[in-house]
Amino acid sequence: MDLAEVKRIGALARLDLGEEETAAMSDQLTRILDYVAQLEALDTTGVEPTTHPVTLGEAFRDDAVRPSLPTEAALANAPATDGASFIVPRIL
């Protein structure tokens, strides 16, 4: 994975990578991808892509309301609140 690709993915993930980190990531990610790429040696013609190891037909809940968290608890981890909303830097 080249430096430009690492930078692009870093930007998408909101990571501010320095030159040194970018180079290190490029090296490590390339090795990880090469390792996983060994699987490409297998012939998977006619095999459905696996997204889940198990298939459960029925994994639903009924449409019933359950108690929500108290607002104080919902906001407890927020860096900034006014007691009702999460406060973030202005968006628009």
Partner: protein
């Protein structure tokens, strides 16, 4: 150069389930900020979303109603992007394998023509929260996550739409369908029915697509139409100047009636969709689909067709009546209780809609119930009152809520349908208008209308018009000269 506009619409319709799509938080609108949240919809680590069965049922309903293929197997995907109203930094949606595909909606145009608009897909997803921006001098935004996780269906049309009129007709029909199905309020102003428009232009007759712009922030049918017309003009102007249309997202500015580019340097458009490992692939049995099919109500297109055949209504009248199933039900109640369905339609589309529009209310809130309107129409049919008097009785019904018969009785409006009562009145009209009578006798037969009018006036509009005509023909002197029409 003459251009053709090519439009595809993406509609998000909020489902009326009690609880959210992946957790048990309430979907009730208008609760205090962040009072309907839990670890799942707040995106806390280690939680597991569990699918609300009712959401799938709603999607199957809409899929069947729009003649889609309902896929027996579909998958959930993560759509990754950063925004403060999206606590997980991904939206759970469907990407490669949506629940419904390849359907269509038939929309009625003003011309009476019907256009079939293809649907590419319908998929389920979760809504994001809501950002409230502070005052101009406040450099903060305020995030309410009550809406995060409320179920949505996204309906993506084919680029089959060619004008703002077609777009509006399509949206109205689609909204009628979700309302008939009872799966969504379908309210654009309140955001339970939202629309983004992909607009491009191409030389007339061309079969390749131009570069499109996606227009957002359209929260009424009127805005959609204006934004499409504006975009088509803007793009034509660019091409005329030898410039190119840029593929981008644009925001509609209602106040200025223009679209503005949303582009910003930091915006990286790559959602990196991948299958959501927290949710198993969705398997839908044939029995489930058939059970849902059995619950489908009569849909607008079928109802419209039936109204034309069963009641002999013009297609345009039928289309207006079926736009809301409440209005259609109201009409059928009235039509079923009177002799002439056409008259029932005229009253519902004329007097009733005028009053509802004036009061700004829907038919469910009508001050005059269907049975009361039917009773009024029966008074006309039984010739107790004339159509003209009926209109003033209707106004009083709206104002007082009284039954039509009571108003007619109280106000002494019973139609004069007794020839013996009318003859002296007509004689009086003749006596009062000797000049016109002489002119009539001299051949000016079109004065018939004058005598009808005078007689109606003399009876305060209460005379039976047909009887007045009949009596006048008997009582007026035979014209001596051949009618000169003048």
């Amino acid at each position: 150069m003459e251009y053709e506009t090519v439009i595809g619409l993406e509609v998000h319709t909020q489902l009326k389930t009690k609880s959210k799509i992946f957790c048990g938080c309430s979907t009730t609108f208008g609760a205090p900020p962040n009072s309907h949240t839990c670890p799942v919809c707040l995106g806390m680590p280690g939680v597991l979303p569990v699918l609300n069965r009712e959401v799938v049922t709603c999607a199957i309903k809409l899929g069947l109603a729009t003649r889609c293929t309902v896929n027996r197997s579909s998958r959930w995907a993560r759509k990754n992007y950063f925004y403060p109203d999206l606590p997980k930094a991904y939206q759970i949606s469907q990407y490669e394998a949506p629940i419904c595909e390849h359907g269509y909606v038939e929309a009625d145009l003003e011309s009476g023509e019907t256009r079939r608009i293809g649907l590419t897909r319908i998929h389920m997803e979760e809504d994001a929260g809501k950002n409230v921006h502070g005052a101009a001098d406040d450099d903060h935004s305020y995030v309410d996550l009550n809406r995060a996780g409320v179920p949505l269906l996204e309906i993506v049309s084919e680029p089959d739409i060619r004008s703002s009129e077609e777009a509006t007709a399509y949206l109205k029909r689609l909204r009628s369908i979700v309302r008939y199905l009872g799966i969504s309020d379908g309210n654009m102003e309140e955001g339970s029915f939202r629309c983004d428009a992909n607009v491009s232009i191409r030389p007339m007759g061309s079969d390749t697509f131009g570069t499109r712009a996606e227009v957002k922030n359209l929260n009424s049918f009127r805005h959609v139409a204006h934004a499409i017309d504006y975009e088509a003009r803007r793009q034509a102007r660019l091409l005329a100047q030898g410039k190119e249309v840029v593929q981008e997202t644009r925001l509609w500015n209602t106040a200025e009636g223009k679209t503005y580019s949303m582009r910003s340097k930091e915006e990286a458009h790559d959602y990196r969709y991948f299958p959501d490992p927290d949710l198993v692939p969705l398997e839908i049995s044939e029995q489930w689909i058939e059970a849902v099919r059995a619950t489908l109500p009569e849909l607008p297109a079928d109802k419209e067709q039936r109204f034309v055949v069963e009641y002999g209504l013009p297609p345009q009248d039928a289309a207006t009546l079926v736009a809301s199933h409440h209005l259609a039900d109201y009409f059928e109640t009235v039509a079923g209780a009177v002799k002439e369905a056409k008259r029932a339609a005229n009253w519902v589309l004329g007097e009733l809609l005028a009053v509802l529009n004036k009061l700004g209310i829907s038919v469910e809130e009508s001050p005059v119930e269907a049975a009361a309107l039917a009773a009024l129409i029966r008074l006309i049919e039984e010739e107790t009152i004339s159509g003209k008097i009926a209109k003033s009785v209707f106004e009083k019904m709206v104002a007082t809520g009284k039954a039509p018969a009571a108003i007619v009785e109280e106000e002494g409006l019973v139609q004069v349908a007794d020839p013996e009562a009318l003859r002296p009145i007509i004689q009086q009209v003749f006596d009062d208008n000797p000049t016109q009578l002489a002119q009539y006798q001299a051949g000016k037969t079109k004065l018939m209308g004058f005598f009808v009018g005078q007689t109606m006036r003399a009876t305060g509009g209460k005379a039976n018009p047909a009887l007045v005509n009949k009596l006048l023909r008997e009582m007026l002197p035979e014209p001596t000269a051949p009618a000169d029409g003048g």
